[in-house]
């Protein structure tokens, strides 16, 4: 799935902040108006309605009255650490920044034209009965990222290895063995599909379906072989570089993998010749679950209810998948009864909906 905001959002791991326009204001309302601060950003000014607020969930309503795109930052006392930021506010447009801020000294900055240090001012958060719990320690984040990077690395190696074997079998005319390996080798692709898609044209080269092609485009990759007509392109080498991630990339990746399931696998659109959709399905779910589990300690701290819901919804979906296991793999999609497909689709929706709140939760 596409994540165009990723880079913009996470340049500095704003772990205490999320920028949003559709925030639940109940918390702010409970604490009175003083937790909502209006910010007017102009070409040469940055006016805040208050320079002080009680600790808790603060909402900065940033209106751009200038002529260029502006940004707004809440920085730590050192003027360096980003507590929260909202970017890409076009002229005459408004956006909100919602942050969970403990008592302390801060610096605010508007950055019209996105240049330089910005127009800065001091900001004070006073202690209140809504003092936020301590933020996630960096170690938990590092741990989550490291384990996810290891996972991607391992899946990549297996992908390259098994793809090589698969291609060799296919070229040798050992069709039965190639057929047997096909869903297994693809599993490693599907587990990290959202990562693989970030590599330029690797995805269209390797995973294009016939209907995805434009006139004149050469069809290569898995599904071409699936249709048993053409040898594969070489393309996986690009993946072997060591990858690094940010927490919201990991969380968005988890969400994206479930979207892949909802759009292609649960409908049987992905593997229209081999019908091995459930292997892909399982692999997408694997990847989504690994990403979630890495972040789980953080989610448990930020939103324990969401963590519980996700854990039980993953388990419910897995139970339905396990019921379709046959031998080392699964029954093929064409063997599923309509009510079984329906049950899987329901479980995917039940999981995908709360999963779409994961990124905001880990960034909150």
């Amino acid at each position: 799935m596409r994540k165009p905001l990723l880079v913009a959002l996470v340049a500095a791991l704003p772990l205490f902040a999320a920028c949003t326009e559709n925030t639940d204001r109940s918390e702010a309302a409970d604490g009175g108006e003083s937790r909502t601060i209006t910010v007017t950003s102009t070409d040469d000014g940055c006016d805040l309605s208050a320079t002080e607020a009680p600790s808790g969930t603060l909402t900065f309503e940033v209106a751009n009255k200038g002529s260029a795109v502006t940004e707004f930052y809440l920085l730590g006392e050192d003027g360096q650490r980003i507590v929260g930021e909202v970017e890409n506010i076009g002229p005459q447009l408004s956006r909100e920044l919602v942050v969970s801020a403990p008592a302390g000294s801060y610096v605010t900055a508007c950055k019209p034209g996105m240049k330089g240090e910005g127009i800065r001012d001091d900001f004070t958060v006073t202690a209140s009965d809504q003092e936020p719990t301590a933020g996630t320690d960096d170690a938990a984040v590092d741990q989550a990222l490291e384990s996810y990077e290891d996972y991607v690395q391992e899946q990549t190696e297996q992908l390259v290895d098994k793809t090589g074997q698969f291609v060799a079998l296919y070229k040798a005319g050992e069709d039965d063995r190639a057929r047997a390996l096909y869903p297994d080798a693809r599993t490693h692709w599907e587990r990290i599909e959202t990562v693989a898609e970030s590599f330029g044209d690797l995805d269209p080269k390797m995973d294009a379906r016939e209907a995805d092609l434009e006139p004149g485009q050469k069809w290569t990759g898995w599904h071409r072989i699936e249709k048993d007509l053409w040898p594969p392109a070489d393309g996986y080498q690009a993946l072997s570089a060591k990858l690094t991630f940010t927490v919201d990339q990991v969380a968005n990746g988890s969400r994206g993998l479930l979207e892949e399931v909802a759009n292609g696998k649960v409908t049987g659109e992905e593997e229209i010749w081999s019908h091995t959709d459930l292997w892909d399905f399982q692999a997408n779910v694997d990847g989504a679950r690994v990403a979630f589990e890495g972040l789980e300690p953080i989610v448990e701290q930020k939103d324990p209810e969401l963590a519980d819901t996700l854990e039980s919804r993953f388990a419910e979906l897995q139970k339905l998948l396990d019921a379709q296991r046959a031998g080392d793999g699964f029954v093929t999609y064409d063997q599923l009864a309509q009510d079984e497909v329906q049950a899987l689709a329901n479980a995917v929706n039940a999981l995908a909906e709360p999963l779409s709140r994961l990124t905001a939760a880990v960034l909150s």
């Binding site: 596409r2 949003t20 795109v69 649960v266 329906q342």
Partner: protein, 404 residues
């Protein structure tokens, strides 16, 4: 109450054709067909037909009968001369009756001819019209991501019925289909609700099922120069056999299913980045309000503030030699699919002067690089030549069949 007057109009149609109040009736005859620059009504019933006869005379007879019936129904009169309840009790009525008591409701009926009317799949001339087939009237190319259902695509003829009352639109298609039995058969039809475009500056911009304002940059009725440049086929476009189409247009339909459930799980910021506009006001992300021109070069935090793959950029006339369309699409919800997801989306309708220059390049760019494509699945597609309007005593398409 006004409806009473219309009911009387229908009831007394046989004796004097009492005209209903003009305020919600549009003229069927004129230089251009109705239903193109007419301010977009709220409801749609669109039908594509296949011709089942090999007889040119029968086809012409049908077009005459359709002309008659369409003219009457647009006036708020019954489809047939006798009426739904005025005739013999031994005969089925010549109007099906569900519009009794309903006003004209802004009904427009627009006819078009598909490429397969001229030549069949083997290229054979079906009705002696092959040499009159306009060169731009051909089946659209396959676009990446198209998952076309043949049962929702193409057709020899089309009828677009738009009205502010869905029952009136359905009544029109139902009665025209009935008149056509034996000559044509319905190939597919599509109901639409909630116009997704404005065709007049007097209308506010509506929202599509993604929740965004749609059609902000549409060509509008109040732009005569733009209509001539982008919508109406000019005489020099269609010299020789295809001259009959001058003053007409081309109609492209695309049944665009939205992956609703997946879209709904996208964060607001991502949705706005895909579209390139704010969801609330519809202002471009480069600022201002809805009708402010997008500034595609305005820098943002990471590349331009309107992303390279934002919908508003990918399809904007600035990147397509200035080509504009007159869009007249409708939201549709055909219940739910077998997995409980909404079978819903946008039934895209566009009128253009030439699909090869005003539709295909834009659709190609969209299929290739529009962030929104991830959430779309095109399941139906068709293209038709829309003949110009007709004068008194003429029948729709007369120029095509009787051109010297």
């Amino acid at each position: 109450m006004a409806a009473g007057a219309f009911a009387a109009g229908r009831a007394t149609a046989a004796d004097g054709e009492a005209p209903p109040a003009a305020r919600d009736a549009f003229a069927f005859r004129g230089p251009h067909q109705s239903g193109i620059v007419t301010p977009a009504q709220d409801r749609l019933h669109f039908a594509a037909f296949d011709v089942t006869t090999g007889s040119r005379a029968q086809l012409v007879a049908l077009l005459k009968a359709w002309t008659e019936a369409a003219d009457r129904m647009m006036r708020g009169l019954p489809a047939g001369e006798i009426g739904p309840v005025e005739g013999s009790s031994l005969l089925p009525p010549d109007d099906t009756g569900e519009a009794i008591g309903l006003p004209a409701s802004g009904l427009t009926i627009t006819f078009g001819f598909g490429p397969t009317l001229f030549r069949d799949e083997q290229g054979r001339d079906r009705f002696g019209l092959a040499e009159r087939q306009p060169s731009a009237l051909h089946t659209l190319p396959h676009f990446p991501g198209d998952m076309l259902d043949p049962a929702r695509s193409h057709g020899d003829l089309c009828v677009q019925a738009c009205a502010d009352d869905p029952q009136v639109a359905v009544h029109a298609i139902r009665n025209l289909a009935r008149i056509g039995f034996g000559t044509v058969a319905v190939r597919w039809s599509q109901l639409g609700f909630g116009r997704t475009s404005t065709t007049s500056t007097s209308q506010s911009t509506p929202r599509n099922l993604f929740g965004f304002k749609d059609g902000t940059a549409n060509v509008k009725a109040e732009e005569p120069d733009a209509l001539d440049e982008h919508i109406w086929v000019a005489p020099e476009d269609v010299s020789g056999g295809a001259a009959w189409l001058a003053g007409g247009s081309y109609l492209v339909t695309r049944r665009i299913n939205m992956r609703i459930e997946t879209w709904d799980r996208q964060p607001l910021g991502d949705q706005e980045a895909f579209v390139g506009r704010t969801k609330g006001s519809g202002a471009p992300l480069s600022g201002g309000e809805e009708f402010t021109e997008p500034d595609f070069s305005m820098p943002g935090s990471d590349g331009p503030v309107i992303a390279q793959d934002a919908h508003v950029r990918v399809v904007h006339p600035d990147f397509h030699g200035g080509a504009r369309m007159l869009r007249r699409g409708y939201n549709f919800v055909d219940g739910t699919d077998s997995l409980g997801g909404l079978n819903a989306g946008l039934f895209f309708i566009a009128f253009v002067r030439d699909p090869d220059t005003h539709f295909t390049p834009i659709q190609t760019a969209m299929a290739k690089s529009d962030a929104m494509m991830e959430y779309l699945k095109v399941t139906g597609s068709a293209v038709f030549a829309v003949p110009p309007g007709i004068g008194d005593g003429e029948y729709v398409g007369q120029a095509l069949f009787e051109q010297q």
